[in-house]
Each structure stands twice: as C-alpha cells, then as structure tokens.
Symmetry: C3
Subunit: 334 residues, 3 copies
C-alpha cells in the first residue's frame, strides 16, 4: 500500500502522472473518483488552504472529508511506544489510527515540529505513526516536508513556462526574514522538487547556519545526480538572483538554534534585507516569483512584487486543489 508522505518515495513517472491528472481536474472539476469514499483530515496545527482544498476536493470527486483537530476537538494523543500513560494523553496513536482507518479510506495528517529538539522532530513521529497503524493510505498535509505544496508549485511553474520539462531553468530558493523562527518544511520540499525536476538550484540564505537538514540536502544531491540538474548554496544576493528564471521565497529558523531561538533572533533580524523586492527581481531573467502562502507583505516580499504579473503564488495556491485531487484519486485507484 502506497502512502503520500514525500515525493521522494514516488517515481518520476508517478509524479508526472499526478501532474497530468491535476491538469485534467483543473479543466473538469467534478468527477466520481472518490464516490462514496472518505478522508479524515487530522490537523495538529491550523490551516486555511490545506483544509479548504482537501475538503472541497473530496466533495468534487463524490467523497467526503472529516476534519479533526486533536487537542482542540478531540483527545490529546500519545505517540511513544510502551509508555505508562499517566500524563495528558488519553489515547495512543495505535488506537486512534486503527479506528480512523476502519472508518475512512484515507487519512491526511498535519503535524508541525514542536520546535524543541530537531533530532526528535526530524523523526516525523506523528505522520509515521499514522502510516504505521492506520491500515489505509496516509497523506502528508505538512509536517517536516510539504509534498502537496511541491506538486502545486511544480504545476504552477509548468503552466507558467508552458512545458512539463523544466530542466536547465535557474531556480533560486531564497530565505526571507520573518519575526518568528518558522518550520523548514516548505524549504525542504522546494529543494526536493526543484532538484527532482532537473533545475539548476541555488539555495540562497544568510549564513551556513541556515542551510537545511542533511537529509534534504542529501535528497537534493541524489536528485541532481539523477536528473542532470545542479545544486549550490550561496549567501550572496546579487550572485543568486542574477539570471534566475524562478525565485521561490520562504522563511525558516536556523537549525543550529532549534529550540534555543533567543540567540538566533538578533542574527535573523540582521537579514531583513533578504525581502523579495523589485530591485532584486530586476536582476533576474524576467523571473517568475512564488511563495507557498501565508505571506506577510512587506516582510517577505513587497506589495509591488506580490501585485506584479510575475507573481504566481495565487496560481500555486489554487493548484493545491487540483494536485490533491490527483493524489487522492491515485491512492484510491491503487
């Protein structure tokens, strides 16, 4: 049984098939691929696009989504094995996942890091726990990666350039400032999918401390070796932007300070000028800009960039709906 935990688990041709199906769903939104089927959407963190697009996608294909928010309108859950459960958790993931798996045909899970200890968070235990016990396909709704966003991003780029073949494009993933230390999930994902698609990828970030976890840097290395693209890290804004075809922005906290964010804050504050603005975009090769949203205007990107024709962030967000329908349909067809 296949899950959709990461794009890296899926073959290039399977990903292509998903993107092709997504384009069909964009043209004809209604279908019966999920007739009588159901998905539970388990949110340990809040959501706007993910929740709306999955709920709607299930409906448009004849199915039904149930939205659950553990710790808000359901019980706190234990994920460790062998624990004497005398703390807060009223229930173990083994029972939660098994029971949900008896009710529904698929389970989507959003579980951000707890931001205390990266070595623990990088195990992705909530998502892995559901995948282990549920007995039905599990979809990653963003944990420490965000594979649904990857597909939506890829689709928006393919639409923009009018081709599925993005090899040779100069792709910049740029860190931007944000007042809080954020999840690296979308950054990990952008690096993964951009290298997978054979692009020439630059990871632009303030200092080596902002380089991503070795697992995702490793996936990117593997991907460029297979796809013929390239990967480099740069800390020089002009160097990275010059000639870029694509600029993708995201903020994240530096991993060496994970869970110890006080000393990272003044460092991060020094790099507010990483904001995506018209001056930087002018250095690109008539480049396209995107972001996963939500985005703080005039912090991560200026109003001028957001409101320019070069910004395809809204298209990318729309595509969440289409690619997720393709993922659900593929998981149900297996």
């Amino acid at each position: 049984m296949k899950h959709f935990l990461n794009t890296q688990d899926w073959s290039h041709s399977d990903l292509d098939a998903l993107l092709t199906q997504a384009a069909l769903f964009k043209k004809n939104k209604l279908g019966d691929e999920l007739q009588g089927k159901s998905i539970a959407l388990v949110f340990f963190n809040s959501s706007l696009r993910t929740r709306s697009s999955f709920e709607l996608g299930a409906f448009q294909l004849g199915g039904h989504a149930i939205v659950l928010q553990p710790g808000k309108d359901a019980w706190p859950i234990e994920f460790d094995v062998g624990t004497v459960m005398d703390g807060e958790a009223e229930e173990h993931i083994a029972e939660v996942a098994q029971v949900l798996g008896r009710y529904v045909d698929m389970i989507g899970v959003r579980a951000f890091p707890k931001f205390v200890d990266w070595q623990t968070d990088r195990e992705d235990r909530v998502l892995q726990g559901f995948a282990k016990y549920a007995g039905v396909p599990v979809i990653n709704l963003e944990t420490i990666t965000h594979p649904c966003q990857e597909l939506a991003h890829a689709m928006a780029l393919q639409e923009h350039f009018g081709t599925h073949d993005l090899r040779g494009k100069k792709y910049v993933l740029t860190w931007t400032y944000h007042p809080k230390a954020l999840n690296t999930a979308v950054a990990n994902s952008a690096l993964t999918i951009a290298t997978r698609l054979g692009m020439d990828v630059t990871l632009l970030c303030p200092t080596p401390d902002y380089v991503l976890d070795e697992r995702y840097m490793g996936w990117a290395q593997t991907n460029v070796a297979e796809s013929g693209g390239s990967l480099r890290v740069s800390h020089d804004i002009a160097d990275a932007y010059t000639g870029a075809d694509i600029v993708y922005a995201k903020s994240w906290g530096a991993l060496p300070y994970f869970g110890n964010w006080e000393p990272e804050k003044p460092i991060r504050d020094r790099y507010r000028h990483f904001i995506v603005d018209s001056e930087k975009m002018a250095m690109t090769n008539n480049g396209v800009f995107s972001h996963c949203l939500p985005l703080r205007r005039n912090i991560k990107a200026t109003d001028a960039v957001m409101d320019s024709p070069a910004c395809i962030a809204i298209n990318e967000a729309e595509n969440r709906l289409h690619v997720q329908k393709a993922v659900m349909a593929a998981l149900m067809a297996q």
Copy 2:
C-alpha cells in the same frame, strides 16, 4: 458581478423574487441549484443558526459549505493596505480572498464590529475586503447589518399576514435591555427592510443616544420616500405600542458611547422595563412579535410573550434556511 452585502443594493423586484423562491424552497427542500458548487463560510464570530442553515442549505441544493474560523482554526488576517506585516497577522486579505475565490463559488462572511471605534467599524472593512478581492460573490452573514435576517423576517411577516404587501402596517422596532452593549446590525437591518416594504415604522428607544447611525436612518428615509411608508422615533413606550401590528425587539449599545461602554452601562440599566411583556403586547392591534434570536428570556422578552401564539421568532429563524438558499441560488444563476 452581484454580491449580497445589503438588501439596499438589490431592487425591490429582486428582493421579491428571492422571497418567492424562498417560499418554493420551503415547500420542496431539495434541489440541484448548487450541484457541484461550494461556498466558504468565514466566521470571525460564533454562530448557531447562520452556520447550520447555510451548511444545510448548500447540501440540500447539491452543494457543499466549508466552515472556516480565522483566528480559531485558520490564520489571523491583515485588512489594511500597504502595512509592513510584522504584527500578529500572518496573511493579507488580498491573498486569503483571492485563494478562497479560486476554490469556491461563493464566500459568506461574518465579522462583527470590534466595538472600539465606530468610525472604523462602520467601514465594514472585512466584508468589503472580501468583496474587493475574492472574484466570486460574497454574502453578508452579519457584520454591521444582517441582510439574511431581513429576508427571513420579511418572509415570516408575509406568512403571518398572508400577503406580500405589508404597506400600511404599523411596525415597531423596540430597543430592549441586555447586560452587554450589543451590535446595531439587526436594528439597522430591521429599519432598512421595514421601510423598504412600505410600513409605518416607529423606532422606539430610551433616549436620542440610542438612535441608529445616520447611514441607516438615511436609508430608511430614502425608503419611505419611495415606498410610501413613514418613519418616526419615539421614546414613549405606550405611544409606540398602541395599535402596532408588529413588534420587533433588539438590544444594542448607544453609538455615542461606542468603545467607551462604562458610562453607558448605568444608563442602559435604567431601561430594563423596555422588556417586551404581555402588558405591552396588550396595547397592540393583536400584534405579532418577533426577534432575531438568540434571546435572553425574561430580559428582552418574557416567557409569556415567547411562548404565546403571537411569537413568530421560530418561524423567522426557520426562514433563514429558505431565504439563504434563494440568495445562493440567485447568485449562482447570474
């Protein structure tokens, strides 16, 4: 593209058509007017009737409603333009509304005043922001007016009197006591629709401080000029109730004390006797009573009034379902 932000934006014949369609939906509850369509219901404030009736109405017409609660299970949202977003808000209404508009066919918005500054609240920025950016029809689920309640109220009165023509009826909108300073939305709306329908309207309130905002008093003046009804303000209970055909009750805070409610509290407390009771109803012309609900019994109206055959508040609440289906169907048919 038409929104449903206020009844005042719709022609009399369009409103008549909505009420006629609502009566048909009351007889035959199922239809296919929203087959495959969806609506996002965005609640910045809590709801019982609005949420249930919209969700159900969408289902009964073949569609689907998605319920979102920003600040509860989605992100806080920025509404000002040009802001450097380094505060609480993670996202701008421009992106929220555009993305939702890509997903769904309609958006409903509930956003009460913040009760700090009436000059700001009366701009109705949340609702107007969605209408500006969404690219799909927007429905007012109660902000500083409540047009869905207006239609439900009109329908209940038309049912009670057995005619669509309510011209010449003596209509009293009476302020009542409530321990908190409440929104003027339903009061503004009652005044708007009652004058629109050509009734002889009395606004009964304790003092001139409780007269409503000039925008809505102005709409009412415009309406009586066109419809042949009349409008007057009274602070005398016996004067207002005597001979009334309709008594509609609502509590609201006095606008001169908006955001500075401490000094208004002792004033309001002196008018607890504005409660609708059997003695007052006995002065009417065998009058009918209604209220938009929720209602605090024995504060706004006595048990005797609420439980009497003259009370049509439950009918009015039921009609929310029917009129809202008519509104959604009309917006989708344009």
Copy 3:
C-alpha cells in the same frame, strides 16, 4: 415519535433489528436511507469516534451531518425554565432545540456530567431538554449513559462468539484506575446491555463506593428478571475473572465523592492494580477483552492485553459506525 436516549426505552426485538441492520451496513456501506436528510451533532464535550462515525454514517447513507460545539463555536445555552437570563447564557434550550428541529431531521447530543452534583447531573437535563423541545428524534451521543456504545459492544461480542444469543456467558465489567474521576456513563451502559442480553454479569469494583447509581443497578435487576441472566457485585479480582468469557473495562469516579474528588483521589490511587493484564486474563475462560476507548495504555490495560488477539476494542469502535447508521435509519423510517 421515538428518540434514542437509552436502549432501555427500546424493546428487545427493536434492538435486535438494529443489530441485524448494522450487520448489513457492515457488508454494504453505502445506502440511501438518509437521502437528503440531515442530523445536527451537538457536542458539549470533545469527541473523536462519535463525531467521525456519525458524520461519515450520514454521508454514506446520502445524508449530511452538521457539527456544532456550543460554548466553542456557538452560544452558551440556558436549560432551566423561568430563569431571568442575566448570566452567561445568551439563549434558552427551548429556542435552540426548536430552531435546530426546524432545520434538521435528527439531533445528536453529547453532554457529560458537570461533576459538581450528581443529583443534578443524573437528571440529564441537556439531553432531556433537546428531546422535549426539538420536535425531531434525538440521539444520545453520551451523557450519563452511552447507548450507541452499547450497541457497538453487543455487535462486537455477537461477532466474536458467532451468535446473537449471548445468554449464559460470564460477563465481567471491571473498574480500572485512571488519574481522573471519570464519567459513569459507559459503566452504566455496559451493565444495562449485558443484563439485557441475558448474560451472567459481575460488576467488579474496589469497594461498595464504586457501585453504580441505583437507577442503573435497578435497570440491571429488571433486565436479569426478564432475560434469565444474573447480576452480582464483587470486590475480589480472582473471584470475578475466574471463568469469565468477557472482560469489559472502564474507569469511573465513586459516586459518594461526586464533586468532592479530593478525598477520593488517594482511595482510587490504591487500586492501580485493577489494570487488565495478562495474568488476570489467564484466569478467564479464554476470555475476550474490550473497552470503549479512549484507553490509557499501561494504566487501564497493558500493551500485552491491548495487542493480543483477545482484544476486540478496535472492532467495537468500528461497529459504532454501523450501529449508528442503523439507529439513524430506524429513526427516519418511523
């Protein structure tokens, strides 16, 4: 009009018909028994299984469930009659239930005790209030009993033993430790359904203080008189477990300490050894184990028991879906 407030209100043959229908739904999950129908699920307390299984059950039969959480995303509600409502509650149950009853075809209600005064809580006023005013069938989603769980439990036992006839089986309802004083609802329900089905029932608990309310002990007495089963109370673990065919576990607070839990805590803490473990299960007649979930592992039952083939708790949880569809279908067919 029939409600589903307690199994005790339904005849044995009606309960049999529900269980037979549930088995059919387990084989063929989709149907049209609720085509165009709706149910409001009103949760005063959080839920995982109940909410998911009812929402899904309605969908699978062509209907729609609306989930409401008073005090979370709707108004606080008054349940007393004649009150001057100048406290927190913005609305009376009379209006809430009547309006919901105008919108939907059925109403489900979850309302746990408030754990202050058992004499008040045992009146079950929230559930009874909805049943009194709604004008449509009301379903108990767990208040001071849990009849949906009873049916799911009975179905799981019938599946396990391969027969509808459970007369003569030795059934042990064992109290277990839990750090908090919990609701007696499932214990009341287990006693009710086990005696109803004619089993030889032992209520195993630490001391006479943990015996259940006289209403439910009385129902159990009535049931054994009619069904030919038996009922006894035991405080001796070996005595109760020896030769048992069925062990059902549940924790609950001792009624004499209701609302005054401080002095009960050290008493409860002395009986941690009531945990269901392999040693105790070895005393049974190759007995089957179940629990209503959620369950704290290694507090109420050990990992070894939970993960053994003798544990049918997941089956019981799954059956919630099937029996509830049978209940909804029966209520709509009346």
